[in-house]
């Protein structure tokens, strides 16, 4: 009966964001791959080149956005997959927390790296 379903946490928002980020990622990921493997061959990657790109505000913000959306999309995807397999109760809460912290660490670390290249926020 209906009362068995007490969790009225709307899944719709996350579902929609998963799709929106996916749509965004299609473009950025393709761009990213193309740039770093085809235009600049992998063995040519150096700190200097990365630095040169990162110093442009557009590229810098695009990469930050890329990082955030990819993190959200990936981590949320993992979380969903676990719920789909019947993750529930306190384990679910724990997983949620761990994934949240991991994403945070990832984003912070990513931003710090980007800043190291750009030598501060490029303005």
């Amino acid at each position: 009966m209906a009362e068995r379903y007490t969790s009225f946490e709307p899944g719709g928002r996350r579902w929609l964001w998963q799709r929106l980020t996916a749509a965004f990622l299609v473009i950025v990921l393709a761009f990213h791959f193309f740039l770093l493997h085809f235009l600049n061959h992998a063995d040519e990657v150096t700190f200097a080149l990365s630095q040169a790109r990162m110093e442009q505000l557009t590229y810098f913000s695009l990469m930050i956005l890329f990082l955030i959306t990819a993190t959200f999309h990936g981590v949320n995807g993992v979380y969903n997959a676990l719920v789909n397999q019947g993750l529930s109760g306190s384990r679910k809460t724990a997983v949620k927390a761990i994934l949240g912290v991991a994403s945070l660490v990832l984003i912070v670390q990513g931003v710090r790296t980007a800043l190291a290249w750009a030598g501060g926020v490029p303005i």
Partner: protein, 293 residues
């Protein structure tokens, strides 16, 4: 080919003193033994008999109370083929002629009662709606996957029923006409829109085929979501009710769990476009939420 003759074969007794029933039974036993013998030979002589007049069934057996059946096993049955014979016909034949303890649900024999959804040669089908001639031999018949087996081919349906009943599966409206002879009008288009969704016969084939339903016990499942669709899309219920229905569907274990595997749509014996309905509801829910965000 051992298991369907549980009783030890009796000695040939003096035929005069036994009842006609028993005589018959002995006769049948002998025939049966003979048939088994024949089948063995036939089998040995390679399976070039596929166009012959018997079908080979491999049927899942399990009974928690019968010692020999506590460990699940497959039994072989060889059933004489008749034009138009279905998997259900073959099972009934095997039950009535070989082993009366062979257990399965069935009733209407015409794909409307939904009791005989089985796992046949690797997919969920209604026994009564599957022609033997469309299947390759041996025909492997198992109970529906992802459900507890009660006995042989019978599975516990309670969970499925619970999910179906969790979506408030009944018509609710605030705009009933006053007179008891006045109809609530509905456009043809709207009836057409809900038509397919009303065809569900609660067979649970879809639920059994869905990997998400298998993993997440709370997932409403395609059939229940389809049931909700049937009402949510019915214009007679009105906007307020639709809102409420979407809320039920939007819960964590509702529509969002569906990963568009499409297997539900593929196995549904009533050809209900389940994935399409689920997807439509997701979009409806998003649209609905955007109004409020």
């Amino acid at each position: 080919m051992s298991t369907q003759v549980p009783e030890p074969v009796e000695e040939e007794s003096s035929a005069e003193s036994v009842s006609p029933g028993k005589q018959k039974r002995d006769q049948k036993k002998r025939e049966r033994a003979q048939r088994i013998q024949e089948q063995r030979e036939a089998e040995a002589a390679e399976r070039a008999r596929s166009d012959d007049d018997t079908y080979h069934l491999k049927v899942f057996r399990y009974d928690p109370e019968v010692p020999e059946k506590q460990e699940p096993r497959f039994d072989d049955f060889y059933v004489p083929y008749k034009q138009g014979m279905t998997v259900l016909d073959a099972l009934m034949w095997a039950r009535d002629h070989y082993d009366s303890s062979l257990t399965f649900r069935h009733s209407c024999r015409q794909a409307i009662c939904g009791s005989d959804a089985l796992f046949v040669n690797g997919s969920q089908r209604l026994g009564c709606k599957s022609q033997l001639s469309d299947l390759s031999e041996p025909v492997r018949i198992e109970p529906l996957p992802h459900a507890d087996v009660v006995k042989d081919l019978v599975v516990d349906m309670e969970h499925f029923y619970d999910q179906m009943e969790a979506v408030e599966p009944y018509f609710q409206t605030n705009s009933l006409p006053d007179g008891e002879l006045d109809e609530q009008r509905q456009t043809r288009e709207n009836r057409e829109k809900v038509k397919m969704s009303t065809r569900c016969i609660w067979c649970s084939a879809c639920m059994s085929s869905c990997n998400i339903a298998a993993g997440d016990n709370e997932y409403l499942g395609p059939a229940a979501i389809n049931k909700a669709y049937r009402f949510a899309m019915d214009e007679r219920e009105g906007e307020d009710m639709k809102q409420r229905r979407l809320e039920i569907l939007e819960q964590e274990h509702g529509v969002w769990r569906c990963q568009t595997q499409f297997s539900c749509t593929e196995v549904c014996p009533k050809d209900i476009p389940l994935t399409e309905h689920i997807q439509e509801l997701k979009r409806e829910a998003i649209k609905n939420n955007l109004k409020f965000w």
